[in-house]
């Protein structure tokens, strides 16, 4: 048998080989020092990593009601997104309201009737002339200028 590949050594130390394959490797490593060393090295590396990657930081498991009562169902990211969406919607509504207000300002005042009393004085300039305008709106309110 040829020397064992790294892939097969890995599967061998992880017990992922069939009984036949395993017995062939067992047979080979009793005669091959090179492969015996490789098996040993890979086994040491695997166990060192397994031991040190294991997570052992003590943390408290959050209360299960956080999951099942439906209260804090949103993650932080979802909260940020929702705030963004609400802010965007609010800006649109605000813009629409401002737009509508401006439109209203431009709407001419409805005038029901008007009259003006104007006496021209030839001795005065045009800006010094006296005149009076009376406006009666649709609700009957009278305004004098």
């Amino acid at each position: 048998m040829n020397c064992i590949s790294e892939e097969n050594i890995q599967a061998y130390i992880d017990n992922e080989l069939s009984i036949n394959e395993k017995s062939k490797i067992n047979e080979h490593i009793t005669q091959c020092e090179y492969c015996t060393n490789n098996v040993h090295k890979q086994r040491m590396l695997a166990s060192m990593l397994k031991e040190n990657i294991a997570f052992d930081e003590p943390i408290a498991i959050p209360d299960i009601t956080q999951i099942i009562d439906g209260s804090p169902r949103w993650s932080k990211e979802q909260y940020i997104k929702s705030i963004f969406y609400v802010a965007a919607a609010a800006s649109i509504v605000l813009a629409l309201l401002i737009g509508l207000n401006k439109k209203q300002e431009l709407t001419p005042e409805l005038t029901h009737d008007y009259a003006n009393h104007f006496e021209f004085d030839a001795n005065k300039s045009i800006t010094d002339q006296d005149f009076e305008i009376t406006i009666i709106d649709s609700e009957g309110n009278i305004t004098n200028y």
């Binding site: 790294e6 097969n8 590396l45 990657i53 294991a54 930081e57 299960i64 990211e77």
Partner: protein, 162 residues
Amino acid sequence: MNNFETIYKDNYLKIYSLAVRLLGDKNTAKDITQDTFISFYDSIINKKEIKYPKTWLYRVASNKCFDSLKEQKRYESVQINESHLVYEKEKNNHSKKRKYIEKALMKLNAQNKLLVILYSEGFSYKNMAELTGIRFSSIGKTLSRTLKKLEQELNNIKDELY
């Protein structure tokens, strides 16, 4: 309900630690762990059949972590930043070793990192293939190469320090 509680208690730390090691960020890991269990709870409520809850949780959590990494545009290489490391305080040589391994893990791409984490948790090759998307026949090869690479990264880190 009792069933859910048992699964929650048995797996919370495992899922959280998977997320922390994949992301290197405790806050996002906490959110993703909570999201994963909410999805699990919703699936139970909606009477979806989950044959292997532990594998299901690992799959959902790792997918959520990958999505989060993609969102942060650091899918392939996470910037090594001290604040990303889980073991912030060096109390003794043991935790120092853990810190180096954590740092070396961050050098791997997300898929290989997941493979190593699953390996350290004792998953079978079949489950590792299912969870990582690597072909079952390639798990042994990928694993041995990844562990070698991790060892090399560890040596580089030690060389940098001493």
